[in-house]
Point group: C2
Chain length 208, copies 2
């Protein structure tokens, strides 16, 4: 082992972080329903369009969570529409729930980004493959920056109104722009890091 915290700190009978793995959908749905009543179908669409780029969710997860939320009194049936459509409305209890999360909930700061995980293992790649990969990535990140930038510009010209919800979305988009810009710059930077010397310490062949 290299540098390190003692393992037994976490191991035997210690209460861990208690960070909820994906209670996120629970709050995400409440947050969306705080805007306006919606059906599972509507919510699925919203995940497909915008939120899903940050926090993916498919319809089985959504319908399932909707059922649980209703059971627990965080939301309630608002109306039944034409094709079996069921729209839900958030209850005061639900609104309190999501607000408590926002102001008092533990924040998980882990950046679960697959490209970052991959970067730990770049040393296993051939230099030319790595180079090609990083170029592709930089390109892709730049295209996202462009996409979000144009959305932000439209918003700043008042195209979607000036309400609080739109303003929140604008803030989220700004995060996207800055994050993807950072990732694009990082990819460019990484592509210019010289390939390493073969590592003497281990038996596995590194990138030649």
């Amino acid at each position: 082992m290299s540098c390190g915290t003692s393992l037994s700190e976490w191991h035997p009978h210690v209460k861990a972080d208690m960070y909820s793995p994906a209670m996120s959908l629970h709050y995400a749905l409440l947050g969306l329903l705080a805007e306006a009543p919606a059906s599972g179908y509507d919510l699925t669409a919203r995940f497909g369009e915008v939120l899903g780029h940050i926090w993916p969710a498919r319809h089985p997860a959504i319908y399932g969570e909707l059922g649980r939320l209703a059971e627990d009194g965080f939301i309630e049936l608002e109306s039944e529409g034409p094709r079996r459509r069921k729209a839900y409305r958030i209850t005061p209890k639900g609104l309190e729930e999501v607000r408590a999360w926002l102001t008092a909930g533990e924040v998980d700061h882990t950046p679960r980004l697959e490209p970052l995980l991959r970067s730990c293992f770049f040393w296993l790649m051939e230099p030319e493959d790595l180079r090609a990969y990083l170029d592709r990535e930089a390109e892709y990140f730049r295209s996202l920056v462009e996409k979000y930038t144009s959305y932000a510009a439209a918003k700043d010209h008042g195209e979607f109104g000036t309400g609080a919800r739109v303003q929140s979305l604008r803030v989220t988009v700004e995060a996207g722009i800055r994050l993807y810009q950072a990732l694009a710059d990082w990819s460019d930077w990484a592509a210019r890091v010289p390939p390493a010397q073969p590592d003497p310490e281990d038996g596995i062949e590194t990138n030649r």
Copy 2:
């Protein structure tokens, strides 16, 4: 519904992205074992120290995946040590597996960042709570930038050697620095966005 792609594109019988939810641990373990043989305990420690800040994993998941990996011939028993310790070594098949992932696997670019999800719902918070939250976040992100920066400086002074694996880690750390810097700047920026007007379009009270 607002702007949007037709839902039926994904719905009826279309093959979805097939993006693997967390096949990531499978590859992460292979990547770590490509460096040197290790036991479940060692690998758990490494997740706790470094990798876990990017991709968390607890010991039950690790021991479980290790078993599957061995069953499938991606890794093999290297040695049995003092206290039931079992160290595994990656096989040629396993090395091929992780390399194929790195060079040919689909990349999932979704930034699963809880702070970003939260930002979609900032409009539900009281302005002063939001302000306090953003200040705390900015502070925290800055502390991470500092931490990773000092690590990078140590590395650049040759403190951990110059091997390929260390160089990869340096690249990952650079991503962390840039990402957290972007997030710190974003938090500062967001704290200075003026609170929105009450939104006329819906019935739920927004931040006053």
